[in-house]
Symmetry: C2
Subunit: 197 residues, 2 copies
Amino acid sequence: MADRDDIDALIALMARLPGLGPRSARRAVLHLVRRRGSLLTPLAELMATVADSARECLTCGNVDTAEICGICRDPKRSSSLLCVVEDVADLWAMERSGQFRGRYHVLGGTLSALDSVGPDELRIPKLVDRVSSEGVEEVILALNATIDGQTTAHYIADQLEGRVPISSLAQGVPIGGELDYLDDGTITAALNARRRV
Amino acid sequence: MADRDDIDALIALMARLPGLGPRSARRAVLHLVRRRGSLLTPLAELMATVADSARECLTCGNVDTAEICGICRDPKRSSSLLCVVEDVADLWAMERSGQFRGRYHVLGGTLSALDSVGPDELRIPKLVDRVSSEGVEEVILALNATIDGQTTAHYIADQLEGRVPISSLAQGVPIGGELDYLDDGTITAALNARRRV
Ligand SMILES: [Zn+2]
Ligand SMILES: [Zn+2]
């Protein structure tokens, strides 16, 4: 049995989602309450299922429901091409373009002196391991065209220099642009025109 | 056991919330997956609880967890003052102001010829009943200052004419409002309703 406090608590939790503030959280909760059968109950069940099973892939950092994600397990995907992204959202954006048939490595952020994020806070040591152990023949740096993204790309290029050819997404990614905001065609063009660094 | 499809299904459901599109739904789901213990699991549980228990108050239309809502049950609130609002969100907004100590009547929308919404689609017959049966001494029309809101207010005023005094919220410049940011209609209304100081 719930009481009115549960509705308020639900609004407060919803307001913690990115993109929702208190007002839009209230709207969302009213919307959900009016669609109990078609939306609120399925959402509650799916959230419980995902909470039980979603995890970060031990190899690449993608979010999936297995210890090793579907992309890393897929034998049709080339293990010789490794695409490095900052964030899982960027990996998903690359996948939506449907052009890349290699594997990924999710850093989990960018180097940032300001926020004290060093290489060990990211998955850079693991990246260096993978390049050695998985027979990677090309590393594609698909980092955001921001200062921190490019600083991180340079650092990784230094770490991997002499071990493997490295390329980066072509111009086409606008200055200051974040992958997750780009349309699929832009990502495809940038991928096809990737350059050695 | 979930699979990757559950994550996609969760994104699709989240994208049906007002204020979230596909991109912000993906961001929200990644945010939730990274905060499984602190956010995703509590949210799933609270949604399930609210789905079981939230309902519209049989008297006023407020969303609550009892058949008759807390406001309608509160003996300290005057039953002689009845505030008519379009939507539960408007009722909640009035409550946040903390000024009104009467009861509410939620219409559930506005009259709209375009969308074929007539008086029986709203809770107008129920409003007329309540005015007769609950000893209401004043009806306050707190409808939005839109064309449909004002059309609905005029219709209700006609229905209740001679039965009960009717008032409406004053129109004017909001507290902290800058004239330069207000639309002409608001300025006109504020000018017409000017008061001696
Ligand atoms: Zn993986
Ligand atoms: Zn009520």
